[in-house]
Structures are given as C-alpha cells and as structure tokens.
C-alpha cells in the first residue's frame, strides 16, 4: 500500500475564520490524506516547526484576510532557508483570481480559492505527487 500524503492545514497570522480550513481538513482526511490541523493564530515559525516535526509533504495555508501574497512569499523564503524545499505549499481562502499567477510564480504549488470543490482540491493535491508516487 502506498504511503498516505501528509498534509498540514495551517491558519497563519491573526485571522480566525477557520470554517474553510476545518472543512478542507475533514474532506482531505475522508479522501485518504493524513491531515494535521495547526489551530488558529500560528506564526510562520510555528507552522514550519510543526511541518518539520510531522514530516509533512504539503503545507496548506488558509487565508481569508487578503494577506496571502506577503504571507506566502515569506513562508516560501523560510522553507528554503530551513532546507525544506521538498514540501509543497498550497493556499486556499479568499484569493482573487488575479493573484493566482503571482502566487504560482513565487513558488506556490497550487491555489484553491474559496468555492473550489473538494474533488478539485483532492485531485489537485494528488497531482502534485503524481510523478513520484
């Protein structure tokens, strides 16, 4: 049996709207992923620490406040600095379509704006690992 993909669903920063994060966590778990949820109000340092400790394959950020561009930029830089370039970063939440190219360009592996179906998130996540597994 193949190994389950390990996902860390994380709520960075101060935003407390966690319905999206929680239901995506439940959906991914039902779809066969191993899911860890950080809980609210996490610093990027805390997220990196949990990701390292739990040896996750993906970090999924849920961001509703509009701060997705600076947060992703900073986290990606930290991941490189900490020697975690293999962890994929994906992001969901209130993400305007206009911002998707910028996110992809900086190294976000996939973007799932609010309203993306569970099926699309599921297949989008699996596609990230298709080549290796």
């Amino acid at each position: 049996m193949e190994n389950k993909i390990r996902v860390l669903i994380a709520k960075p920063g101060l935003d407390g709207h966690d319905k999206g994060a929680k239901i995506v966590a439940l959906a991914l778990r039902d779809a066969g992923f191993e899911v860890i949820y950080t809980g609210l109000h996490q610093t990027l340092e805390q997220i990196i620490a949990i990701a390292t400790q739990e040896a996750v394959d993906v970090i999924g950020l849920s961001i509703m406040s509009g701060a997705h561009l600076p947060i992703c930029r900073k986290l990606l830089a930290m991941m490189i600095k900490k020697g975690l370039p293999d962890i994929r970063l994906v992001v969901g939440g209130v993400i305007p379509f206009q911002d998707i190219p910028a996110l992809k360009q900086m190294g976000v592996a996939a973007v799932f704006p609010g309203g993306t179906s569970f099926e699309d998130i599921n297949s989008g996540m699996k596609a990230l690992f298709e080549k290796e597994r």
């Binding site: 709520k11 920063g13 101060l14 935003d15 407390g16 709207h17 966690d18 319905k19 929680k22 239901i23 966590a25 439940l26 959906a27 949820y37 809980g39 609210l40 109000h41 610093t43 406040s65 509009g66 701060a67 600076p70 947060i71 209130v94 305007p96 379509f97 206009q98 704006p113 609010g114 309203g115 179906s117 569970f118 099926e119």
Partner: protein, 549 residues
Amino acid sequence: MGVAKYIKDERGQIKEVTYQSGIKIKPSYGPEDLERAGFSYEKDLGAPGEYPFTRSLHPQSYRSRAWTTRQYTGFGTPEETNERFKLMIANGQNGLNVAFDLPTQMGYDSDHPLAQGEVGRVGMAIDSLKDFETAFAGIPLDRIGSGLTINAVATIMMAMYQAVAEKFGYSKDQISVTPQNDILKEMIGRGAWIYPVEHGVRLVGDSIAYAVKELPKSNPVSICGYHIRESGATPAQEIAYAFEIAKAYIDNVTARGIAPEAFVGRFSFNFNVYGNMWEQIAKFRAARKLWAKMLKNEYGVTDKKNLFLRGLFGGGGSGLTKEQPENNIMRGAYYALGAALSGAQTTALCSFDEAYTIPTPRSALLSLRTLELLMDEVGMRDTVDPLAGSYFVETLTLEMEEKILEEMQAVQSLGGMVACISNGLIQRKISRQAYEFEKGLQAGVYKKVGLSSALTDKISGKEPDQTNVELHAHNEKWAETSCANLKELRATRDGQAVANSLAALEKAAKGSDNVMPYLVNCCHAYATVGEMAGVFRQVFGEWNEPEFY
C-alpha cells in the same frame, strides 16, 4: 434547493421539504395545523408591542421608525475610515458599525511582529486614543451610535470610546456604544479570542457591570448567533447557542450581586438572515418570544423594555457566492426582505463583492440603497408584522420555538455553554455540520443559483465570471503611517502616567476590581492597545483551543 433538503419525484415535482433546523414542510397549511399546535393569539403572539413580542417590540414598529442601518465599515488608517463614516452618514446611515483590523482585534500594536501584513487590512488600525480622535472627528457622538466589532479587547475599545467622547466634550451618559464583546462566540466561530474562557467571560461581565452604572445609553454586549450560523450551525442552533451564551454572561453579572432586571435590557443580538426565508422569519419571531419568556420565567425580569430582544438581523455572508457575484445583489435584497418581514430593528447587508474584497464605496452604498428601497419604496413600513396569522408562518414559528428549546436543552444537559466550548464539543459539532453541508452543496443536494453554471463554465474551460468586481486596494503605507504615529506617540506621551495607569490595571486584573475605570485611565494616558491587552495576556494567559477532530 437552497439550504433546505428537497426530495423530488421522477417528474421533478417536490415531494418532501426539510428545513435546516429539521422541520418538515407540508404542501399547504390550514386552520387545522394551528389547532393541532394549540395556537393561541394571546399566548403565542399578543398584540404588537405586547408580551411575548412575537409580532414586534413596538406597537407601531416601522410606522414609528424605519430600521436602523449599520453597514460594517472600516479599513486602513483612522483618517480613511473617518472619511467612509462621513460618506455613509451623509447618505442616510444612522449608526456606525466599526471594523477593526486583525492586530487591533487581537490586542497587538501595529508595530508588533505578528501585525506584519495585516495593518489596516480588514478594518482600521487602532493603537491608541490618538487614533480614535482621528477616526471619530466630526461625528456627532451624542446622535450617532456606534457598534464596535471587537471582542477579545472589547473592554479596551469601550473605554477608549468613552475617553474619546470625553475628549470631544461629550459626557459619558450622552454616548451610545455597542461593542460586540461576545467572546464565547469567537471561540465557536470567527476566532478572534485571546484569553482563556473564564477570563474572557469575566471581562464581558466587567463591561456589563460598568455600563449599568456609568454608560446609561450604551449596550455593552451584542451576542452573535450570526457567526455561529456562519460556522455551520442551523438556524435553530444559532438562536439556541446565542441564548445559552447570554445565560453565561447573565450568570457572571448576577454573581456580582446585580439583578438581571438591571442589565438584561442592555443586551443586543446579532443574527443572520442567510438561508430559507420562511425559516428565517419563523426564527426571528420565535426568538423574540423565547427571549422574553426566558427572562421572565427564569430570571424574574418584569419591566417590559427589559424583555425586548433587540438586535441586528442582517449580513447573510454564507449565502453569497464568488461565482457570478452580481447575483449576490439580488440575494441580499431577498435576505433583507426576510429581515423586514420579521420586524428587524437594525440591519446591515453583506455587500455583493465580499467574497472577493472589502466592499468598495459603490458596493457599500448599493447595500444601503437595497435596505432603503424596502422601507421607502416597497411598502415595508405600512403595517406591523404582515405575516401574522398565516397558517404556515404561525405553525412554523411554533415549530421553530420547539427546535430552539431542544437545542438549548442539549447544551444544558452537557453542562452549559462554557463547558461545551471549553471541551470543544460545540466547535466539533458545527464544523462537522459545515462539512456535511458543503458536501451536499457540491453534490447538488443543496443549491446556490449560479454555482452549477459556473461549474459548467469551468468544465468547458471558460474563465470564471467575476465581472465588475473592483478590488479594494490594500495600501502597505498604512502600516508605515501607523508605526510612525506609534513611535511618535511613545516619544511624546507622559511615560510615567502610562506606566502608573498600566500598573493600576494589572492590579485590578489580578484582583476582582472592575477593570473598566482603569482602562479609561490608561486610554486617557495614551497607553496603547497592545500595552493594555498585554497586561491581560500576562495576568490571564492565553486560551488553548481544544482539538477539533
């Protein structure tokens, strides 16, 4: 269809309808339904403005006064928010509903590392009284009441509002401030909590006890079923959980030797208009009645005005779609119609672009006009509670009452709301419900118009439709301005006065003194939000969120 479950036969005819709260709807209703339910006009409705207020709080309702409109407003610096406040007031809005940025909501100053990227983003950045002086400049605080959407640090903002009013020459008995101040709902949904449950509830209790004595026109707490509903609760749970939260606050204040009669009249509520319209109407009517009955029977409240379920019925965020955003304009109008038919005293609508952005002036005004249309054009002010006596609406109202009571009893049997939140029971329950609902929506069990055609577009490779959504631009300069102002403030204020006021606050927080007067002193001394919240952080600690699986 919609949020309700519909079972259809092979020809597409509707066979069975079940609302979210679990009530089955019949194809038609008649006098026999009311009879079966034991409906009595005197007992279940009463005249408008009479106990149990099912029909209306006031005998003339909208004839005497149209609803108060309070669009949620605030972004960027206090200057910018002040400008938007003035725009909304110039356009007929009669109360403010103030949005704060996340650092402010979480008790951090704009120059705190955790504030990075968030300053001024989802509301205005407030660091000290200086910022309130700018934000409320030129606003007649004796005529315009302000709702402050702030919870964990509501005591601080309420004190600051009093301080700014005093600074402007108003006395504290002239002002009307309604901080949201409902920390328990933050722990269920919305997530802007800081301190552990018992300390959070103590702060709410302090602000209520203080307002009773010192702020006669203010409403110290606005209990929000709203966000609980947004987080996945059914309409019946929305009301039930809000009432159970209210009871936790009542118990805290009563334990200080203050009788419920002295303060429950100051409670207000914030409920959601999203969902099936009939279910919402029945919910609001049942809620008014149950609140009055509960206060009278369980708390011995007798003064009529203290039995009123006052509040804002509005919003509707969960119903809005990112796809075909213009549809949200119509959705908002129907939600508002439901609120008007329920006799909402105060209202506000989510703007059509909120799935994307902070509303632009154009979309915020569109919401305001939608609300105005109902009052001034369509006829909602003509007569009180126009649906009263409808076989369907009255039957449904009685059934909603039953459902709400069942949900309240479920919480009580598990030890009450504080226990249910501390152990995460409620959070897990509604997260699961939200997940099940979302699955149903994606499977087509529930329906949002425009969603399925958007899916079709996607399959055929068309770009998602987001015409005419103009994005609110975030300005990185806001943070620079706020941080520069803070630096200047720290250099120019009387440091000794700040230190003394904070030391006194710490002593009050450690003991059992009401923290409010100490906070007012801190504000006048220009202590920052981060400093005051920091004192509480040190004394109370922070809450550990229970596991949600």
